[in-house]
Each structure stands twice: as C-alpha cells, then as structure tokens.
C-alpha cells in the first residue's frame, strides 16, 4: 500500500490519497492523470490493467486500487 501511495503522490501531488473516496467519479484525477497512473502502476507492480478495471469501482480510492492490484497480482 505504501508503494502505491508513493506512486500516486508522485503523479498528482497535493491530493489526499489516503482518505479520498471519489478520485475518478469526483474528477479529482482527470483522464491524463489516469493515463499516467496506469503507466506507473503497471511498471511498479508488473501488472497489466485492462479496460474492465478502468471504472470508479476500482479507481475511486487508493484502497480500491490496492485491492485491484492484489487481484491482478494473484
């Protein structure tokens, strides 16, 4: 989880990733941030994030992203 937060904070400094729960649906991260986050997460965790995961269900909070990463690493 710490590694994920590190990646997120580097992409979009100033966002409270620990507590935010509407990152995508609340447009806290825009489409360009999303592209960067995907690129960084895929490199950092050696995973491939398909279109089926690119929804608020998986990207609205760091916790949800972390659960997705674990599912993809499984």
């Amino acid at each position: 989880m710490e590694k994920l937060l590190e990646v997120l904070k580097e992409v979009k400094p100033g966002v409270d990733f620990e507590n935010a729960t509407n990152l995508l649906s609340g447009k806290v991260i825009d489409s360009i941030d999303m592209t960067t986050i995907l690129t960084e997460l895929e490199d950092a965790f050696d995973i491939e994030i398909d279109m089926e995961y690119i929804t608020p269900e998986y990207f609205d909070s760091a916790q949800k992203m972390w659960e997705m990463i674990q599912e993809l690493m499984d």
Binding site: D30, S31, I32, T35, T36, L38, T39, D50, E52, I54
Partner: protein, 529 residues
Amino acid sequence: MTFIDFEFGIFLLLGVLLFYLCPVKHRWKILLLISLVFYAIAGVKYLPFIFVTSLSVWLGGRKMGQRLDRLEQELLRDNPDRKEKKARKEAAKKDCKKVMLGILVLNLAVLCVVKFTKFFIGPINHLLAVMGGSESFTAADIIVPLGISYYTFSALSYLLDVYWKRVSYEKNYFRFLLYLIYFPHILQGPIEHYGMLGQELKKELRFDYDRVCKGMQLMLYGYFKKLVIADRINTFITTAYGAYDSTAGSILLLAMFLDVVYIYADFSGCMDIARGVSQIFGVQIALNFDHPFSSRSITEFWRRWHMTMGGWFREYVYTPLSTSELVKNINKATRNKMPAQISRSLTTIIPVFVTWVLTGLWHGTGKTYVAWGLYYSVMIFLSVCFGEMLHDLTVRCHVKTETESYHLFQMIRTTCIFAGGRLLTRPGSLSLSWAILKRTIFHFSPTALFGKALFLQGLGKKELLVAAVCILIFGAVSIVQQRMSVRDLIARQNLPVRWGIYIASVVAVVILGVYGAGYDASAFVYMAY
C-alpha cells in the same frame, strides 16, 4: 409517426390501455409488441436492420458470456497456479475478443454504409455506367433505418460491457430486443446502457397514479418547448440565414443565439416527451440534459449536453484510446523529460481529436461535420491543456472566480463557443457559414435590432413577443429546476393553482403551438442522426 403527430396520441392511449389491462408479469411483452408496432409503422423495411443488429449482438454477448462463465468454473474447479491461471484467462480473453471484434465491425459497417452511401452515389452510378449497367441510384433509394445511430450505439455498449465484464449477458433475446427497440427512446435516444435500461425493463411495471401524472406533465412541458418555442423561432433563423446577404449583421447575430435556444428547446423538448412517455409505463430512461448552459467550461458543457452520447464516446472511444499502449508510451516518453504542460498536451492530443472527429461524423457526414468535430477538438484540447494555467493566471490577477459575475462570464463564454459550433453546421455548407459570419462582422448595423427589419424575419411583433415571453419562462423554469423539482413544487400548491397551471399549459401548447392551416410541424432535429 413521431411524438408530435396526432396519431401518436391515439397510439399512446391504446398502448397504455393495453399495457395496464395486461397482468404485471406479461407487461414487458406488451411493451415489446407496442415498440415493434411503432417501429413497423415508421417502415416495415427498417425491421430487418434492427433484427440483424439485435440478433448479432445478442448472440455475440451470449457466446462471450458463456465463455467467461466456463472460465470461472474451470478456475474454481482446478485451482491452477498463477501462471496457468493467467494463461487460461488470456485464452478466454482472446476468444471473446474475436467475437467482440467481428460483431463490432459488422454493426459499424452497417451503420457506415447506411449513413455514408448517399455521398458516394455519384461515383457508384459512374462505376455502374462504365460497367455497362443501365440502372442508377438516387438518395431516395437508400434505406436509413429509424434511429439506427441510437440503437447501434446502445447495442455496442452492451457488447463492450459484456466483453469488459461490466454486465452479465442477457439470456432472453426478446428482453434484449426490447432494450434496443423500446419506443420512447428509439427516435432520438437517449443512448442507453444495458445495465440501466435493461434492468429497468425487468422491474415489475405497476400502475402508479402520481408517476403517470408526472409523466404527462413532463410530456406537456416537452411539447411546449418543441411546438411553442423551437418551431416558432426556427422561422426567424431560417428567414434570416436564407437572405443573409440582405440582412443586417446584428439580426444575424440574434439568429445565431436564437439557434442555440432552438436546438436546446427542440432536443430537450423531445427528451422530455420521451421520458414522460416512459414514466407513464413506469420505466425510467437516462437523463440527456442537465442545464448545459450553466456550464463553466466547454468540457463541462459536453458532460451536461446530450449526456448519453458524450458519455458513450467518453467511455467507449476516449477512455480506451487514452489508456491504449500508444498513448501510454507517449506519456512515458514525455513525462519528466519535457515541461508538464507539453507532456499533458501530447498525451491527450490523439484521444481528443479522434473522439471529436468521430463525434462529428456521428452527427452527420460531409465537410461541415468534420469541421465541427475539429472545432470541438481544438476547444476541448485547449480547455484540457490550458484550463489549469488559465485558472492560475486569474488567481494571480486577483480575479475572484467564485463570484456570480465570473460564473455568468463563463456561462456566456461557453454559450458563444456552442453558438460558433452551430454556425458551422446549421447553414448547410462551410462557405455559407463563412459568408454569414463575414456579413455579421462587417455589416453589423446595430440599429436594425430596433427597427422594422427585426419584424421581417418571418415573425411579426406579436409572434416575437410570444417567443420572448416563452423563452423567459423556459429560462426561469431551468433556473428553478436547478434548485428543486418544478413538478413537485406545482404538486404542493392548492388545487385551483395546480389545475390553473395545468390548464394554462395545455391551452398555451394548443393555442401558441406553431400549427396553422396545412401546417406540418418540423421533425425533431436529432431524428436525422
């Protein structure tokens, strides 16, 4: 038959009676029957098209769904290691991708042939003549099925959602057919998601007096927008643009802004009628407008205007493109190596331009719609890339961005951008748009707005006064709607006030609606798409 035809009233009345006389569990079948009849009245020749789309997409969805279900069962049964699991998932994904791509291409090909053939009639006829054929085609020979752009997009959203495992596949073909052909949304949308409308149509559709009343009220307001406002001011715009070379620029400018009101009243009016009709049957369909002219930017505007189409392109074109390997590689290659603003611009340029040119082509073919797509590509691109920079600049200049006056400025700016887009498509050709723009700038003559010329644009003094009052009512209702439900507000009033409003509204539509001897109400603009 459209929503503004007298026959539609009779059709709806009979349909509602049949629907509520039928037992609840069979009501969806009646809806399917009514929708098929509605579609067949528009043209039996259109039916094969919608059957091809519905059958191919339903079969494809079923095949993919069954393959994914089988994979799940195998993984549960065998509990393979990570490597094996990944390999099996990839194999299933590959199988599904083949099915999805095949059906996607088939349906997009049908849509493109139907929409674009008329632009190739000349070369086709020439080719036939060269080959010795004696027959030739005209535009009238081409069958353009009713609502093809809308139902094809609704069908493809289902196909892609099943492929991306966002919805479960539908096992019953007739349920899926109803989702596509459901008559309130077949003419002009909204473009639906199976996860929403498909589930909505599976509910127990029971009679609810309040809901039926509210549906009728919404229909009435839709007719008011369409027949009293849109069709009335359309005359002014058509007359002004038709004789643009002898019309003052100030009047052309007024026509440009009236055109914005016209398209909004026409399209949102149709959506109100569609949603109202659907509410009578107990089915909630997607919202397509959310006070777009209160938007602070053009990107926000497109999240509030024709929301289901914008959402479709965002979800199924823009997002896949912006997360594609190509764009991710561009992002990777430029981030931290170039200034952030340039990296952001390069990351977004391909998805924005492709999405907006395709959106333009969805609306229509020809140069005007390509120009329209490029126009919005540039506007959205500038807004996405430089929006933050502009915000920083306003803060540095000590401009208060949260004040009402600044919001008003942003709303006017957004409206002007939209009016510019309309000017590209409404006159019919780019040269005409350019000529109108030149005339507006170089022969402005502001005094014409206060003289006789104003009343020579197809609407006399009284007609213009009616239009102005009705537009003000439309604007006032929009402002109130942002704070509360107008229908709930009316429902809370005492009986004489409530019924006074209802009767006045009906009388307004009947008396002020643009009819007249032999008058044929204009078709809804977005039906052409």
